[in-house]
């Protein structure tokens, strides 16, 4: 077996040094009954070539987004990945290191996280950010938990424009903590009024911009009302590229910002792993979940970085920890940070503009198709269209024509009748005008 260096003669020498007759003898504490009953219906070892063949065949059963024009979003976006990014994150010193518990030999990871924390704080317009969470949805749930600790209240309000998975994950985890979560109905028509619902019983209000259905939201007025009532405003962002063109949530008065970083960190990979970006105000750092890297000096007075404020965490605080998280999404956070560094301010803003340009071009062409209505008046790179017939059928028929033309809202809200004819559509810099024409042409055929 190619991954195992010990030879039989090594094993014999080592058993002799231990004073044991066999390896099985070392397992003598395992119950005999369980050892006897252990039968596994699984294959034996295979060569690298055989594994490649089998997995290659499995992968080939999927239609990948490089094979068909695709306009899919809903929190997971296809963006171009610069070649340098994948090279950097495949360096073994990043890929195969553990959490940086030994700072003297982990300065690479620690400095990269410090740079990541700074980048996240800058693009969200917040004061501080942590070293990452699992993904946007779990970060949202952690944000609500944190708001409950800060406010010592146990009720949360979630807008109907928040990604349904974020709301689902939050509602699931809060149920076990006896936090009441009020979820507003899906809001594709932009009718929801949140301000009147803010009261001193709430720990937080959770909103999203661009919203799940594409609408852009200015939550400045809501933030002011929240502040007056001692309620924290949590703003979710599912595509961080949007932060290159839009007013940052921090400037609207957000108390906590959570972002799904996948879109800038690499491949969609069927939705995971992602990375949750988590930013807040400095005064809340001790209530913040997750790891934090801070600047310090070493014994020779040289600048360096170290995991800090770890007394909030499970390995010290145990049942009183701010979260049970330990392994988070380090490598994906690094990938996000590398991409941000490659882009720089100029590239980041240009990428955002390019996304918005492609989306507006798509929207204008779709608006000319009979039976199609684009719902949001302002949007970034994603919007909802209303069709005259059920969107799920349309998507299947588009797929048969080789186009992945959006996601039916019913996939997320199967029991929401008003959602049946709604389709979520995204365009990014990876779409060409030819892709758009193919999509629009195919949609005309399907709808006619």
């Amino acid at each position: 077996m190619r991954y195992l260096p010990l030879t039989d003669s090594n094993r014999a020498d080592m058993l002799a040094a231990i004073g044991a007759n066999s390896v099985d003898e070392l397992f003598r504490d395992l119950p005999k009954s369980a050892l006897a009953s252990a039968q596994f219906d699984l294959p034996n070892t295979q060569s690298e070539m055989e594994v490649e063949r089998a997995l290659g065949a499995m992968a080939a059963k999927n239609l990948n987004c490089g094979q068909a024009p695709s306009f899919l979003g809903a929190g997971n976006y296809r963006h171009h990945t610069p070649a340098a990014l994948d090279y950097i994150i495949q360096r073994g010193e990043f890929l195969t290191a553990y959490t940086p518990y030994q700072p003297e030999i982990s300065q690479g990871t620690l400095q990269a996280i410090y740079e990541f924390q700074t980048q996240v704080a800058l693009i969200t317009g917040m004061e501080v950010a942590n070293a990452s969470m699992y993904d946007g949805a779990t970060a949202c749930s952690e944000a609500v938990g944190m708001a409950c600790r800060v406010t010592k209240r146990n009720k949360a309000l979630i807008s109907g424009k928040v990604h349904p998975h974020y709301a689902d994950v939050t509602a699931t985890s809060m149920k076990f903590l006896n936090v009441a979560v009020e979820r507003l109905a899906p809001d594709p028509f932009n009718l929801e009024a949140l301000i009147g619902r803010v009261g001193a019983d709430l720990a937080c209000v959770v909103v999203q911009t661009p919203g799940f259905f594409g609408h852009l939201g200015n939550y400045g007025a809501l933030a002011a009302v929240c502040r007056a009532a001692g309620v924290l405003l949590i703003v979710c962002v599912t595509d961080p590229v949007s932060l290159g063109a839009l007013v940052p949530p921090g400037r609207m008065g957000a108390d906590i910002v959570v972002v799904e970083g996948q879109s800038l960190a690499g491949p969609m990979s069927f939705g995971g792993p992602g990375v949750g970006l988590f930013a807040t105000r400095e005064k809340y750092i001790r209530q913040m979940p997750g790891r934090l890297v801070g600047e310090t000096t070493d014994e020779d007075g040289r600048r360096g970085w170290v995991l800090t404020l770890s007394t909030r965490e499970q390995h010290i605080r145990r049942e009183k920890a701010t979260s049970n998280i330990c392994t988070n999404s380090g490598l994906i956070a690094l990938a996000f940070s590398v991409h941000m560094t490659l882009l720089g301010e100029a590239g980041f803003k240009r990428l955002a503009k390019l996304n918005h340009a492609m989306a507006t071009i798509l929207a204008e062409k779709l608006e000319k198709v009979p039976g199609v209505c684009v719902l949001p008046t302002s949007f970034f790179n994603e919007f909802t269209v209303e069709l005259a017939i059920p969107a799920a059928d349309v998507v299947e028929r588009l797929a048969k024509r080789g186009v992945m033309g959006g996601i039916p809202v019913s996939r997320f809200y199967p029991t929401y009748p008003e959602g049946q004819d709604l389709l979520l559509v995204t365009a990014t810099e990876t779409n060409t005008t030819e892709d758009i024409d193919t999509f629009v042409g195919a949609l005309k055929e399907v709808l006619s």
Binding site: R286, T311, R312, I316, R317, K320
Partner: protein, 126 residues
């Protein structure tokens, strides 16, 4: 005339009339090491003996400071928030955590005096 009493959790309370000043002992600060963060209670908070009153954190450890007696918090030592190291340098002086208006002075009888506490420490280190 003030008297000092000690708890098994290494808190001290200096009593003057019905007001006690509470902190952690030299032994406790020594065990914690460099203290980096302290959270003190707000005035007016009612607390039972043995209840969690304050938080003290060093780089590697975090622990609660318990109220040695029941009562109402009269004052938290706000100065510690910016200079937690005071607890390392002067735990039984400027490093006090809070003052408490004692509900029942009889509860003090359940605590150790200086000699008993020293004997207790000797036992711990044995």
């Amino acid at each position: 005339m003030s008297q000092i009493r000690f708890s098994k959790d290494h808190e001290w309370i200096a009593v003057d009339g019905d007001v006690g000043t509470v902190g952690i002992t030299q032994y406790a600060q020594n065990r914690l090491g460099d203290i980096v963060f302290i959270e003190v209670p707000e005035a007016g908070k009612e607390i039972k003996a043995g209840g969690e009153a304050a938080v003290v954190e060093s780089v590697k450890a975090a622990s609660e400071v318990y109220a040695p007696v029941s009562g109402t918090i009269a004052e938290g030592n706000g100065a510690l928030v910016d200079t937690p190291e005071t607890v390392n340098t002067d735990p039984q002086g400027d490093g006090w955590f809070f003052k408490i208006k004692i509900a029942d002075v009889a509860e003090l009888d359940g605590l150790m005096d200086q000699a008993a506490y020293e004997a207790y420490l000797a036992e711990l280190d044995a």
